[in-house]
């Protein structure tokens, strides 16, 4: 079962200032969408709107399946990781506890995922005391542990070293291959090229360009996206 979402004239305004939209678009399929755009262009806001944690001021957003089901099947990795004030293990277990899984099943999944994200040694440590990169890994593990149908990631590798980045990328590609729809923002163009099946380029809160990854990276149609890819000034 694939989930699709369609946005119609969605806009977000805060304090009278428009920070996103109006955006009209569809996201379907099982691809790996990368959101690109300069700082403050609205990537985080766009991801949060899709996920339903950011209130929209205008327009409508609709999932192809009933809303409660849609929400249950999603997970999100926030730009600055949110740690529960508990141990690493308890953070990983939390989403499973919400689903009322049995204790042994939870323990098994937790140790499995701690392994995958490389935090097996840290299970008893308070999550709030982890290093920046460790927090990001934990947040990614906690999002993947429920095996979501749709996964949103907001610059998940910003604080990761080379090895961790590659390991996380492998995890994400693996999940994607198993059918998880991934929508992710990043400033790391190399990463974007490695992962994306399609790209969405945001500028000033609007979708400026959208297309298949190959095409976008080879020959961006807009001037601004081309400049952005070159790391140039984008106004």
């Amino acid at each position: 079962m694939s989930m699709a979402v369609s946005l119609h004239d969605v806009a977000v305004r805060r304090r009278g200032k428009s920070i996103l939209g109006p955006i009209t678009t569809d996201m379907a399929g099982t691809g790996f969408t990368i959101i690109l755009g300069p700082n403050g262009s609205g990537k985080t806001t766009f991801l949060k709107v899709l996920h339903g944690v950011e209130r929209i001021s205008d327009g409508a957003l609709e999932w192809s399946i009933p809303e409660t089901e849609a929400r249950q099947a999603q997970a999100y990795v926030f730009q600055s990781p949110i740690m529960l004030r508990r141990s690493v293990a308890a953070n990983l277990a939390y989403p499973l506890q919400l689903e009322k899984l049995g204790k042994p099943a939870i323990a098994k999944r937790v140790s499995e995922w701690a392994q995958r994200i490389g935090l097996s040694d840290a299970l008893d440590r308070p999550a709030t005391r982890l290093s920046g990169g460790e927090k990001q890994k934990l947040a990614i593990g906690r999002a993947l542990i429920r095996q979501p149908k749709v996964l949103f990631l907001d610059e998940p590798c910003a604080n990761l070293d080379g090895r961790a980045t590659r390991e996380i990328e492998a995890l994400l590609l693996d999940a994607n291959q198993r059918g998880t729809r991934i929508i992710m923002s990043t400033h790391n163009l190399g990463q974007a090229k490695r992962l994306a099946t399609d790209v969405l380029f945001l500028l000033n809160g609007r979708i400026h360009e959208r297309g298949d990854a190959d095409v976008f990276f080879a020959k961006p149609s807009g001037e601004e996206s081309a400049a952005f890819l070159k790391g140039d000034i984008v106004e």
């Binding site: 999603q74 997970a75 999100y76 949110i82 529960l84 004030r85 939390y94 919400l98």
Partner: protein, 234 residues
Amino acid sequence: MNDIWSGIEAAFWLVITLDADLVDITLRSLQVSLTALIIASAIALPFGTWLAIRRFRFRRAVIATLNALMGLPPVVVGLIVYLLLSRSGPFGVLGLLFTPTAMIIAQVIIITPLIASITHQAMRELWAEYHDLLISLNTSKSQRIATLIWDGRRTLLTAALAGFGRAIGEVGAIMIVGGNIDNATRVLTTAIALETGKGDFALALGLGFVLIALALLVNFAIHALSRTEREGRW
């Protein structure tokens, strides 16, 4: 000043000799206040937390009202409870007037708004931190409340202790609904009021110091217990 000294002396002798009356009213004080604290916390902690996570039309008005209710004059609470529980009142048949139960009811009414207000304030910060995550994980209202209370339990200590403090030191309401009946509803504060009325300030102060020592004891015990949890902030 002499009186204060003789108060301390009186407290000393009361405690040293383990005065039977003193033990009796002290235990009753503890029983009434701790019961009231438990009931009030069971109401106020979830309610205060709920207020922190819920946006609704009259939220600000509810919060302002809650804050105002912290100023409920104990005498008025005592009066209203008295009227409700009195023979001619709606709950008269229960025969609760002038029993410890009546005192507990009055104290619950007095401390619940206080605990709920402090809880609400403490939980707002934690909710701001957890908001996105808990919404994202599609938690139910009650799961959110439970998570916040659990992870914020250390900060909620102040709320509970403020409630306990207010309960253990309160006299106006329990005097009216309890009646300060010897061997039945006399507690430390009403005994203090009685000795003050008699002009026996030394004994009154002595009982007061016992009460303060009791409050200190309870607080240190709770702090020591919460310390056995591992150190540091989560």
